[in-house]
Subunit: 341 residues, 2 copies
């Protein structure tokens, strides 16, 4: 462990992310100052919001710096420490480099794994129990789901969507999902207990018909992860007083304003008295204890399941990220960088 | 008064309303059955939502029937009555025909004028104290305005917009309006006390620059009456946690789905954690007493002013309606059908 592999932000993408967006380098491991912690990465989380951090325009997350390592949520083990809060070998989370190792000055921003969650697979701490799971839980709260509501979630087999649908069922909703392959649709119906699901790609231009067939009574809640044509269909299929949770719009992230096919049926928002609530989960960090109090028992009891898509090796992280933005992942995307202890 | 002039819904418009949409006829006055009331129209309200009632597609208001008289909110005088609740000569509101007279079976749906509002001009009962005023008051409530918020309202000199801006000022907001002529812009700034206003038509394609110049600190609240390009600019200019009140989208009502330029920057809803609330004022009829308790004193004290655009004569109602949909009115549009008592 005398050198450290890093993936750097080589060039800013215009439109789709490409292999040219990324560079690789090896650098010497730095020495540790007082209270510094060196973390060895085990699993790294890849999430769609990271695309926004690649744009020069202001995003809600601080932008990535060109020529510097990209960053992500990582779960790792303390490899060296001059900080009594973090013993060598301890498992920790942090927003760390796309790298084998990250030096964390003063241990700032690290967080130990919740002992209450012992026994939950390590990768789930980046998903069901991590930012995506909390995103699902906080976001669905805005929609105030009640027994008998029809809930539609897009990107339903993804990191957030899986949890949205399963919480929805636990709250008594009829749950409908969309996904981009037939295998994902089968997974939603057969493994996660969705009431209905459809493949938005094979639905072709008529997403609305597929949605209406899956939700003949209309939508009371739409949890939006994709924006674009699916959002338009959801507005058409919405019932009066529907609640739209605007969590993400992955179909838009790689398009310029002029390339973007706009939403043409916003008049439904008025006519159907729809409420749309956008949110960023980091604004709701104070809800973490409440989230964990509900989610950890669900996970331990098997009431909420979670599928993870593991890419092997730091060197494959760029390919996995590019594929994820096109829906190539099946479940929450993580990268295995090092061995579990 | 042996015959009655009526304006009928002759043909359904595709796109813009035209003179061919309307027909005129004279019919004999009907006899009155027990409890029936015959109302002579004095002022009739023309409102943009009525365009939606001309479409075959479901709107929130029941559709107009082809071959039958169009309907509108009307203030009138009881011309004949077999109903002890409505004496001859009494002033009443109702949803009545575009006509000199309407027979109201059983007096159903009529409402007497609130005595507390005596002294307020009769036309204001269709505007500041009517559906448009209550729309402004209820809608702005969704945005939870607080002192120091920047509030932007479109169609700001219109029936609803005038009230929105003035309530906003009374709530301590900095108020910015857009309108379609320089005279309207002057009216907003000089007569209604708006802090800033701009002409969206002369702003040309760069509505955003005009909006940013008028609201350099960004928008905390957008009260949307128009949709389309102004909504897109408001999303661009919005601050984090902005509240959008979706009241109407008059720029869209005469366009087919394919003609509609969509909203291309909905990702701001996510990134800026924007809440959009659509509403229909008739869902909030239970708030009328609270609305009147606040609005009547404001009107009587001159704290809220109201400009009315009066078209003269039932026969000119179609022309006035067509002009209103293109922004030709200056203030709340009404039609004077008969003399005040």
């Amino acid at each position: 462990m005398t050198t450290n592999r890093q993936i750097i932000f080589k060039s800013r993408p215009e439109g789709w992310v490409t292999p040219d967006t990324f560079g690789a380098r090896e650098v010497p491991l730095p020495g540790l100052g007082e209270r510094d912690v060196l973390v060895r990465a085990i699993y790294m989380s890849l999430d769609p919001y990271m695309r926004g951090r690649m744009d020069a325009a202001k995003s809600y997350a601080a932008g990535f710096q060109l020529g510097e390592p990209l960053q992500a949520r990582v779960i790792g083990a303390v490899a060296a420490s001059r900080n009594s809060d973090y013993a060598e070998g301890a498992l920790v989370f942090g927003t760390l480099d796309w790298a084998d190792y990250t030096l964390v000055p003063g241990g700032k921003g690290l967080r130990a794994i919740d002992p209450a969650a012992a026994g939950v697979p390590l990768t789930w701490h980046l998903g069901a129990l991590g930012m995506p799971g909390m995103t699902a839980w906080v976001g669905l709260g805005f929609a105030e789901p009640t027994h008998g509501d029809t809930l539609f979630v897009s990107a339903a087999s993804g990191a957030v969507g899986q949890i949205v649908g399963q919480i929805g069922r636990l709250r008594g909703c009829r749950v409908v999902g969309s996904a981009g392959t037939d295998a994902k649709v089968d997974f939603l119906k057969n493994d996660l207990g969705f009431d209905a699901a459809f493949n938005y790609r094979t639905a072709g231009p008529d997403i609305l018909s597929a949605l209406q067939a899956a939700a003949p009574g209309g939508l009371d809640i739409y949890f939006d992860n994709v924006g674009g044509a699916v959002l338009e269909a959801a507005l058409d299929a919405a019932n009066r007083f529907a609640r739209f949770v605007e969590c993400g719009m992955i179909s838009q992230y790689n398009l310029t304003r002029d390339e973007t096919p706009g939403i043409r049926n916003m008049t439904h928002v008025v006519r159907k008295a729809i409420r749309m609530q956008g949110f960023i989960v980091s604004d709701h960090a104070d809800r973490r204890a409440d989230f964990e109090a509900e989610m950890i028992p669900w996970l331990k009891a098997g009431k909420v399941k979670y599928r993870v898509d593991v890419a092997e090796g730091l060197e494959n992280a760029p390919t996995a990220f590019i594929a994820m933005l096109k829906g190539g992942n099946f479940g929450k995307q993580v990268v295995r960088i090092g061995r579990e202890p």
